[in-house]
């Protein structure tokens, strides 16, 4: 049985957790400050910075573009990743080690290098299709996560159940839908959600491939931080933090996947 930690350790843990939360809480406090510059502690109370941000068409445009991009990337990554995970786990494939190495290597090569290498290739090919470039770049980074998550769920599948269903007369498509699918679904959802988040938050790939028309939200946030100094940045930061909290709730409560499982 797990027992209560010793008090010294407990205090240490609380202090570290406070430091982890601090950079997410301080922007919240500063975003309501009624001053034309960032100051701690905040002075006065206003919500005008939120109004300003929400009315900003560039902020909205980038936000919705990122949602759209992450949606396309997730759909395509699942389309490639699920069959690949099935092939790797349920079939004898020669050179499996090498294939796994290739699939996981985008996680080792620094993203900023993958991004610049892609930019070079696209320039060489004379490509001007920015959206397609961004989708390809994000997919390279997202595929390893999807395949890892879906493979893990394929490996956990109890194949006796499939045999039992087949012996009892279920045709293969029924076995797939009623026996296999429920077992791999959590892995697919977890992989898809993580893929979406990785794409939505990506900076080091997008910074090379984006243009003014296709400007993902992380790049937009960065330009705002570089350029302006009033609390409207803090308001944007707060909105993004609320958005992340909402995601945590949706993932844990609605989809029923624990964060720990998803990120492992």
């Amino acid at each position: 049985m797990n027992e209560p930690l010793n008090p010294f350790l407990k205090i240490l843990v609380v202090i570290i957790l406070l430091a982890v939360v601090a950079p997410l809480v301080v922007p919240l406090l500063m975003s309501i400050s009624d001053t034309p510059y960032i100051v701690f502690p905040p002075q006065g109370f206003t919500l005008k910075w939120y109004g300003e941000v929400l009315a900003n068409p560039d902020a909205r445009g980038s936000f919705f573009f990122s949602l759209q991009l992450a949606g396309i990337v997730t759909a395509l990554s699942l389309l490639l990743g699920i069959p690949c995970a099935a092939g790797l786990t349920r079939f004898r494939v020669r050179g499996q080690e090498a294939v796994l190495g290739l699939i996981l290597s985008p996680l080792i090569v620094p993203l900023i290098v993958t991004g610049v290498a892609l930019l070079q290739l696209f320039a060489m090919l004379g490509s001007r299709a920015t959206l397609l470039q961004l989708v390809i770049g994000h997919m390279v980074v997202c595929l390893p996560y999807v395949i890892r998550s879906v493979s893990a769920s394929f490996l956990l599948v109890n194949r006796d159940l499939e045999q039992a269903a087949a012996v009892l007369g279920a045709p293969p498509h029924l076995v797939a839908r009623r026996v296999l699918w429920p077992q791999i679904r959590p892995g697919i959802i977890a992989g898809g959600v993580f893929c979406f988040i990785v794409s939505f938050d990506d900076y080091p790939i997008s910074m090379w491939l984006a243009d003014g028309e296709h400007f993902p939200i992380p790049l937009f946030l960065y330009t705002v931080i570089e350029r302006s100094f009033d609390p409207s940045i803090a308001a944007i930061a707060s909105l993004m933090i609320f958005f992340a909290l909402l995601l945590v709730l949706v993932i844990e409560k609605v989809l029923g996947i624990s964060l720990a499982r998803m990120t492992n």
């Binding site: 930690l5 900023i112 290098v113």
Partner: protein
């Protein structure tokens, strides 16, 4: 019989077809290859090819007054290692990556122990608090530290309240980059460590306690050595991620402490010097691969010695 059911229920038409497709997809030796081929092809074309081209570019050509000259050259690497300014950036990158791994490891142990050995509610609280920031964009997390480390920020205010008359301004220093990197990459240290600690046999801890070991002794002789595989994974992850960091050093270090990532961006987007940018990229890949090999190799060897007798 199939024809009959097909005639009665229109949906039945799909049944034999689906079955046939499913059987075709699950029988035979070629199926596995067919299933993985699209992904392998995709990554070969859009990952392997560009990265190898990049590495090739770094030794293939160099520019003289902006004109590309063909031939093999190590000049781009020589320039990186021989120019004081660039070499300092290289050293700083290695230093920040090492320090980030070290500090993250120290902070991660209490958290990992709390996750692996604490009460369920404690473990859940720590896990969520550690992982939730991963969903917040790294630009925002870095900006959060800016609001704390600023001249008029939260830290200065707290220090003033504590009676420090002239609080140091950390923003735009290496310290700020280090603090934020530790924060951003801490989860990647905590989770593998918690996994490793969770796998330690409790009987070992129990035996040590019965034999009268103090808590520090138990940590030094049991928890620490037996968690080394998790630590190795954590360190190689955090080192790789912080060596390649771009956004965090850019927001917190400004122009005063750039890392290799910033140098790549400057050389390519500002100066348009592709061969040199390619050389820096290659060095960055080598650094990350080297670190992975060293950390994982050393620890796996030591660990196998420890467990060999078991």
């Amino acid at each position: 019989m199939t024809g009959l059911s097909g005639a009665i229920t229109p949906a039945g038409d799909a049944e034999p077809l689906l079955s046939r497709l499913w059987r075709a997809a699950t029988d035979g030796n070629r199926t596995g290859y067919l299933l993985i081929a699209p992904t392998v092809l995709f990554l070969a074309v859009w990952f392997l090819w560009p990265v190898l081209t990049m590495v090739h570019l770094s030794v293939r050509a160099h520019s003289v007054d902006g004109v590309m000259v063909e031939g093999f050259t190590l000049q781009n690497y020589a320039r990186l290692f021989a120019t004081d300014l660039y070499f300092r950036i290289l050293l700083r990158t290695a230093r920040i990556a090492l320090l980030t791994s070290l500090v993250a490891a120290i902070l991660a142990y209490p958290l990992a122990i709390a996750i692996a050995r604490g009460t369920p509610s404690m473990a859940r609280l720590v896990t969520i608090t550690i992982l939730a920031p991963l969903l917040v964009n790294v630009v925002i997390r870095s900006y959060g530290w800016q609001t704390i480390l600023n001249k008029t920020g939260a830290l200065a205010w707290v220090l003033k309240g504590l009676g420090v008359s002239n609080p140091p301004v950390l923003l735009y220093t290496e310290w700020a980059v280090l603090i934020a990197c530790v924060h951003v990459y801490l989860p990647f240290m905590v989770m593998p460590l918690a996994g490793a600690i969770g796998r330690i046999d409790r009987a070992v801890e129990e035996a040590a306690r019965v034999a009268g070991a103090t808590r520090p002794a138990m940590f030094a002789r049991i928890t620490l050595p037996l968690s080394l595989p998790g630590l190795a994974v954590g360190v190689s992850l955090v080192f790789s991620l912080s060596a390649a960091a771009y956004v965090t050093p850019q927001i917190l270090g400004g122009n005063f402490s750039p890392l290799l990532g910033t140098l790549i961006e400057q050389q390519i987007l500002t100066l348009n010097d592709w061969p040199f940018g390619a050389a820096i990229s290659t060095v960055l890949i080598a650094m990350v691969l080297g670190a992975n090999l060293i950390f994982l190799r050393i620890v796996s060897r030591r660990f196998s010695r420890w467990t060999a007798g078991a």
